[in-house]
């Protein structure tokens, strides 16, 4: 698949403060974009804006590609991994992923058990998520990226609470996703294994 995400002349205003003014960029299939900048620079807000969860003051965000309808919003083509894991503590890891597969899947995707195996969590698939450690919960949230195939990954601090082995595995899955023609936009302070990615440095808040 080949696709391109275009952000034109975007201005983000949050709580009366202008975070980003007149931002333009493009992310193509296979590309990754690293968002860096100080705390409060607007990295998360930019990701939320692309995911359709925050309304920009101005600007156009669009996505186009071979198998993407021309009026489709990026929100339907994107996975958003925010600060919270969007998991229900009372349900098992597998039940959580079953639900998200039903809610988010539009094309293909792994079976929830296979997705859990991909993040090396097959052994806790039937435990309630509230019993899992912070890192295991983060990995369950990452497994959501695999149960529903979506070309654009919006990752907000994806390595939070992950151990070294899991960080390596995440880097491998991101490389595999890009090799298949996927796009990644990640906001991070720590290196996440996207060393060859373009970097977008957001300025200090005005």
């Amino acid at each position: 698949m080949s696709a391109v995400l275009t952000v034109q002349n975007m201005t983000l205003v949050r709580g009366g403060r202008t975070l980003v003014r007149g931002l333009n960029f493009e992310v193509r299939s296979g590309d990754a974009l690293l968002l860096t900048g100080a705390n409060g620079a607007g990295k998360s807000t930019l990701l939320r804006a692309i995911a359709g969860l925050f309304t920009p003051a101005s600007g156009v965000i669009s996505i186009s590609g071979d198998d993407i309808a021309h009026d489709e919003t990026p929100a339907l083509q994107a996975h958003y991994l925010g600060h919270s894991d969007a998991l229900k503590g009372a349900l098992s890891a597998r039940e959580n992923l079953d639900f998200w597969a039903a809610a988010l899947k539009r094309r293909g995707g792994l079976d929830p058990l296979q997705a859990l195996a991909a993040v090396n969590l097959a052994h806790v698939a039937d435990l309630p998520v509230s019993w899992l450690s912070a890192g295991q919960r983060r990995r369950t949230a990452l497994a959501r990226l695999f149960v529903a195939e979506r070309p654009l990954w919006l990752l907000d601090e994806p390595t939070t609470a992950l151990d070294a082995a899991s960080q390596t595995r995440l880097a491998q899955s991101m490389a595999a996703h890009r090799a298949k023609g996927g796009m990644i936009i990640a906001a991070t302070h720590a290196p996440v294994g996207l060393e060859d990615a373009a970097e977008l440095r957001l300025g200090a808040p005005a």
Binding site: G52, T55, A86, D98, L104, R106
Partner: protein, 223 residues
């Protein structure tokens, strides 16, 4: 779209059934209110039978509101609501699925338990049947109206009381027609059908309109 509706309905039912989910909380609260009323009023069976439907309806109203403040708040807090925005189902459908699951988990047990609890308030056969019928017809209105309040207060930490204040005025017409239909079920003096049909109209109207209002409130959370 239908797939996500069913998946969300099943997930919410499952969550309600698990520990801390609160499905049984409504019935227990209902039981407590109905049990303490005769102690407060005294063992006058005629009086209890006369005010019984009203007490059961008030108890059902409060029991419905009990868990409703968490309807969207829980999903807002753990980030699920963000992801539900990004599915291809419209938010209105998501609201409807969550309301329906809440009704099944909280209100349906009340409807089923009402005849049993009605016995404790000295209601007899016909009055019990009328009571169950009115609760079945009227509680969807309470849930769907409550969803508007739940959506408006989803981002507030202690929004439960605010939600009750917002919603109770809207629930008063439902209460009036619910109680008047339920009390006329056991008596020959007033007709049962007119208030009962108005009650059904309230439920149908709120099921049709409330999802749009609640979805609009949820959309404004992101701004």
């Amino acid at each position: 779209m239908i797939r996500i509706f069913i998946a969300l309905y099943q997930r919410d039912l499952r969550l309600a059934g698990r520990i801390g989910g609160g499905a049984s909380m409504g019935v227990v609260f209902f039981l407590i209110l109905v049990t303490i009323t005769p102690f407060a009023i005294g063992p006058d069976l005629n009086l209890l039978a006369r005010i019984g439907p009203a007490i059961l309806w008030i108890a059902a109203l409060l029991a419905t509101l009990l868990g409703l403040d968490r309807l969207f708040q829980a999903d807002q807090e753990d980030g699920s609501l963000d992801l539900l925005h990004m599915s291809d189902a419209p938010l209105e459908l998501i609201v409807a699925a969550k309301c329906l699951a809440h009704w099944t988990a909280t209100c349906l047990p009340l409807v089923l338990a009402a005849p049993l609890f009605g016995l404790m308030l000295a209601l007899d056969g016909e009055a019990l049947a009328g009571l169950s019928a009115t609760l079945l017809a009227g509680t969807p209105a309470l849930t769907f109206l409550g969803a508007i309040g739940a959506a408006l207060t989803a981002s507030l930490r202690r929004g439960g009381l605010l939600m009750a204040i917002l919603i109770l005025p809207l629930a008063i017409p439902v209460l009036i027609f619910g109680v008047s239909a339920a009390s006329s079920a056991g008596m020959a003096t007033t007709p049962f059908l007119p208030p009962f049909l108005i009650l059904i109209a309230f439920s149908l109207a709120s099921m049709a309109l409330a999802p749009f209002a609640a979805a609009a409130a949820l959309r404004s959370l992101g701004e």
